[in-house]
Amino acid sequence: SQWGEENLQALSIQEGEDVTMNCSYKTYTTVVQWYRQKSGKGPALIILIRSNEREKRSGRLRATLDTSSQSSSLSITGTLATDTAVYFCATPNNNRIFFGDGTQLVVKP
């Protein structure tokens, strides 16, 4: 299927739990971006990891990148209800940015 045609994967967890979301990308890239989209808003970049980094941390966020398997993961520790959002991975390529299918994360208080 084309980019963005698949339904979002859905995850529902309790506040305080840790969660990991995975992403496989199709095009060669030297950087993977993770975006978060809250309800009624546009996506916003939350963390970026480069091919020379195996892991990147930012607060409660942790991103990993495995270029050999063309996959990346985003982990959130100690989730809060405010982490409820859709999460996308994205890979820039030339002038385009290719977005993954996305995960709808619901964190219940």
């Binding site: 963005g4 546009g42 996506p43 002038n95």
Partner: protein, 111 residues
């Protein structure tokens, strides 16, 4: 900091109508994008533009036109609104290192 503004926030049209969505950015970014997002799905690229007066088709360009008359603005036209075009249209611009900044979206409903 900069901002991306999209107008209108809500757009209600009639089937067959030509509808125009507008986007303005004050980041001074060269490249701008239009995406469509259907409910419960991801982002699909409609058009993008790498500089003023440039237009590049994305994966979903059929049924749409775009215009980039100024660096700061990028318009999208739905040439003939269809019943199945209820969606959110997101505009974005891009930094030199590839980070995209998005606007809040225009929600289109076709009656």
């Amino acid at each position: 900091g900069g901002i991306i503004t999209q107008t209108p926030k809500f757009l209600i049209g009639q089937e067959g109508q030509k509808l125009t969505l507008k986007c303005q950015q004050n980041f001074n970014h060269d490249t701008m994008y239009w995406y469509r997002q259907d409910s419960g799905k991801g982002l699909r690229l409609i058009y993008y533009s790498i500089t003023e007066n440039d237009l590049q088709k994305g994966d979903l360009s059929e049924g749409y036109d775009a215009s980039r008359e100024k660096k700061s603005s990028f318009s999208l036209t739905v040439t003939s609104a269809q019943k199945n075009e209820m969606a959110v249209f997101l505009c974005a611009s891009r930094t030199g290192v590839g980070e995209q900044y998005f606007g809040p979206g225009t929600r289109l409903t076709v009656l």
